[in-house]
């Protein structure tokens, strides 16, 4: 199966993208976002994460968290390219919400076949969910939570939107024998569905740099788990490209905001009696950011389209876009602050929200070098 030239990006996807841009522009202008999340600058203060809950309610009403779920589960069954476009707008708005995490959870559940339907139905009615899968070294293969006799034990690290989630989709190592200490190659992996208020589950919130996310270590102590899929290694593996694509979409959108905001500043701000943008040091920097964004954006729709049309190419396309978007985010963050000069270094300038969100995203779900090394395994 090949890909359509236009990525299968049809009218309904374009409409979704456009209306999402308007939605965020109307409901979450940058000054309001800043007022909400940047109230307490003190870097030594503990994690406390205000976020626009009402907005999330409206997103649920618009059906956004259920876009990916099939109609049989109460979803809309939109193509991946449409969801990528939505998340691009989400990133452009730097919106703090469990939208990305919920859609990523859906992506994993979709890979579970019918076994994922019950959980997906909950997601489709607006239950915020997130994936708990990383160990302390951020390995993707669930080394630190295990499942035994239907109970979860251990800790999942770097869980995104943990404070907003009502459900956790937990990747756990299934212990077969008595020995529950050392993980081994032969352990199987299970996916479990856990309520946030389940007994034995507790959050240890991280104090993070990013003001538009929340993150926690989730501790499981004999938590009764609903097993979605007992032997989930293949499903998990096949869902990973979608997770990378969705995470990349957020970075591409945020980078575009960084570019446009800096371009506006370079048009208005004068130095030596000329607009900043006159100077090639600024102009060429911004052009390089634009080029990087466009490369990532083109790879984004190509990879999303692969998820829709050409799943056999999805892994390599997804590695490409996450590697590219990560580098783009780093470049856009650095250049946006540097080109703003002094004002860009202040808390009152909105840039820092995006700078921090991008830094956060860059190192989640594999950094650029890791994705390139995986790609090399495929292509060399």
């Amino acid at each position: 199966m090949g890909q359509p030239n236009n990525y299968g990006f049809e009218e309904e996807a374009a409409y979704l993208k456009e209306s999402a841009r308007r939605f965020f522009g109307d409901k979450l202008p940058i000054n309001e976002l800043h007022g909400l999340v940047a109230g307490d600058p003190n870097p030594e203060s503990q994690a406390n994460v205000p976020w626009p809950k009402e907005l999330w309610g409206q997103m649920v009403e618009l059906g956004w968290p259920s876009l990916l779920a099939p109609e049989s589960c109460g979803g809309v069954g939109m193509p991946w390219v449409a969801v990528a476009a939505l998340l691009e707008e989400n990133g452009r708005a730097a919106c703090p919400s469990p939208l990305l995490s919920s859609l990523q959870s859906t992506a994993v559940l979709k890979a579970c076949g019918d076994a994922g339907n019950a959980a997906m139905t909950e997601l489709a009615v607006g239950r915020a969910a997130t994936i708990a899968c990383l160990d302390e070294s951020a390995s993707l293969y669930g080394q630190s939570v295990h499942l035994k006799d239907g109970k979860l034990e251990g800790s999942a690290h770097f869980v995104q939107d943990a404070g907003k989630a009502e459900r956790f989709l937990v990747l756990a190592r299934v212990l077969a024998g008595e020995d529950d200490s050392a993980p081994s190659e032969s352990d199987s992996l299970a996916l479990c569905w856990v309520h946030a208020d389940a007994e034995g589950l507790s959050l240890c919130r991280n104090a993070i740099v990013d003001l538009t996310r929340d993150q926690a270590r989730v501790d499981f102590s004999g938590v009764a788990a609903q097993v979605v899929l007992q032997d989930a290694a293949a499903a998990w593996q096949s869902a990973l490209p979608a997770l990378w694509v969705l995470a990349s979409a957020d970075m591409v959108g945020a980078a575009e905001w960084q570019l446009q905001t800096t371009v506006e500043y370079a048009q208005q701000r004068k130095q030596f009696d000329r607009p900043l943008g006159f100077f090639q040091a600024v102009k060429h920097d911004l052009v390089n950011v634009m080029i990087a964004i466009d490369e990532s954006k083109s790879l984004l729709y190509s990879a999303a389209c692969a998820l829709d049309w050409e799943p056999e190419r999805a892994v390599q396309s997804a590695h490409m876009v996450k590697a590219s978007a990560t580098d783009t985010a780093a470049l856009a963050s650095g250049r946006s602050v540097q080109c703003h000069g002094g004002i860009g270094f202040t808390w009152e300038c909105y840039l820092h929200l995006y700078f921090k969100r991008q830094e956060h995203s860059q190192r989640l779900w594999g950094d650029a070098a890791w994705h390139r090394s995986q790609l090399a395994e495929i292509l060399i």
């Binding site: 090949g2 890909q3 359509p4 030239n5 236009n6 990525y7 990006f9 996807a13 374009a14 993208k17 371009v263 370079a266 048009q267 000329r274 607009p275 943008g277 006159f278 100077f279 090639q280 600024v282 102009k283 060429h284 911004l286 052009v287 390089n288 634009m290 080029i291 466009d294 490369e295 990532s296 954006k297 083109s298 790879l299 729709y301 190509s302 490409m320 590697a323 590219s324 070098a369 390139r372 090394s373 790609l375 090399a376 292509l379 060399i380």
Partner: protein
């Protein structure tokens, strides 16, 4: 079915089948001597003759100029050139030699020339019988194109031209030149006009072509000196004083779809020449020993190779996305990046290949032990021609910053 094919119109479906069939029976096979890396590096009459004969046979079969009207020698089809090119690429045929003619002169003459000029010039341009060159750059006007000094003085219906053009690829083989010159010294932009002028037929009669040698040692671009060359006013394109606007048409075709860098009206590479791609660099890495291992096992080289693979894929996807309006906020944002990206990509890929080759990168064309017959150092050096010619990378970034991002002009 390939990606392209799925969206073919009925006309394209039929034409694609026709092309595929024709190419199968008419592939010219390998030439007896090495072909250059691109049409701009053609060095010998022998190379030229082989390539001209190939272009002529393709034109006769209807694979060149497909989308131009039949009155000017075209095929009268709709969006079929792309189809022909895709099939030629897939079949790995050689490129056409008349690359400046097809990529830049044809659209310029077509949009700005008189009917008489079009009917007279375009058929032999498409067939490759008349090679074309471009007279834009001058010793004092490289990046600053509008400062050209070549001057045409009118007397009745005749213009007398004096001046000095540089960087004119293919001029030593050319019958015709598209020529930007000055007809009024008092206005910088509005003093420019645009002509087509004969070259080969006027050598010694007002035209001198002096080959310049590139840093690679190859010939292929030239100085052209005009001393009292007389041409008829009928060779003028568009109105007097509209030269700058006509030149923009030329450059748009050059920059947009990359006449110099990407196949446009069927400018395809021969199998015999190296293609400067990440894939070729990966092959080199696999065939290069680094201590006990292949170079392709080196994690740093793997990382750099994948960076190039990703940039290449992004470049291809840019061209695809450019045609999806809903995914473009500014219509020129992607097209204006094409030349810059393609040329810097080729530069970085060939530099990487030299690092992969290690000390063997020192070996050049005449050395039997040279990897890829010494074409990697050749490609790396030639890449600077690419990032300099037709608006340096710096100028491309200015254009993008000014025309797309709306930043103040850097002049």
């Amino acid at each position: 079915m390939t990606e392209q094919e799925r969206k073919d119109s009925p006309e394209q479906v039929e034409f694609r089948a026709y092309c595929r069939n024709w190419i199968q029976g008419n592939h010219p096979g390998q030439p007896s001597s090495r072909l250059p890396l691109s049409p701009l590096e053609i060095m010998t009459r022998e190379q030229l003759a082989y390539l001209q004969s190939w272009q002529k046979s393709a034109y006769d079969a209807g694979l060149v100029g497909c989308d131009y009207p039949t009155e000017v020698g075209g095929g009268g089809r709709t969006d079929c050139q792309r189809v022909a090119n895709e099939e030629l690429i897939a079949a790995k045929t050689p490129f056409y030699p008349n690359v400046i003619g097809l990529g830049m002169a044809a659209p310029t003459v077509f949009h700005h020339g008189s009917d008489e000029l079009k009917q007279r010039l375009l058929p032999r341009l498409f067939s490759g019988e008349d090679i074309w060159c471009q007279g834009f750059s001058e010793p004092g006007a490289g990046s600053d194109l509008a400062s050209v000094q070549t001057f045409a003085e009118r007397s009745g219906d005749t213009w007398r031209i004096n001046g000095h053009k540089v960087w004119t690829s293919l001029a030593h083989f050319a019958e015709w030149m598209i020529l930007l010159l000055r007809t009024d010294k008092s206005h910088k932009y509005d003093g420019l006009s645009y002509f087509v002028v004969p070259i080969a037929s006027r050598i010694g009669q007002g035209v001198t072509v002096r080959p310049l040698i590139k840093m690679t040692g190859e010939t292929g671009f030239n100085e052209v000196i005009f001393e009292d060359l007389e041409v008829s006013d009928a060779y003028r394109l568009d109105e007097l004083g509209k030269g700058w606007q006509v030149a923009m048409t030329t450059l748009l075709h050059e920059r947009g779809a990359g006449g110099l860098t990407t196949p446009r009206a069927g400018g395809l590479k021969s199998d015999a020449a190296l293609t400067v791609t990440a894939r070729s660099a990966i092959e080199l890495a696999k065939n290069t020993r680094r201590g006990a291992d292949q170079a392709s096992a080196d994690p740093l080289l793997r990382d750099r190779l994948m960076k190039q693979v990703i940039r290449e894929q992004a470049f291809a996807e840019n061209q695809r996305r450019a045609r999806v309006p809903a995914l473009n906020d500014h219509p020129m944002r992607l097209p204006l990046q094409t030349k810059l990206l393609a040329t810097e990509l080729a530069q970085d890929t060939s530099a990487l290949a030299l690092d992969i080759a290690g000390p063997s990168a020192s070996l050049y064309l005449a050395d039997d032990a040279a990897p890829a017959r010494g074409q990697w150092p050749l490609a790396y050096m030639n890449s600077y021609g690419m990032t300099i010619a037709a608006g340096t990378s710096e100028i491309q970034r200015n254009i993008l910053g000014e025309r797309v991002l709306g930043l103040a002009k850097s002049k």
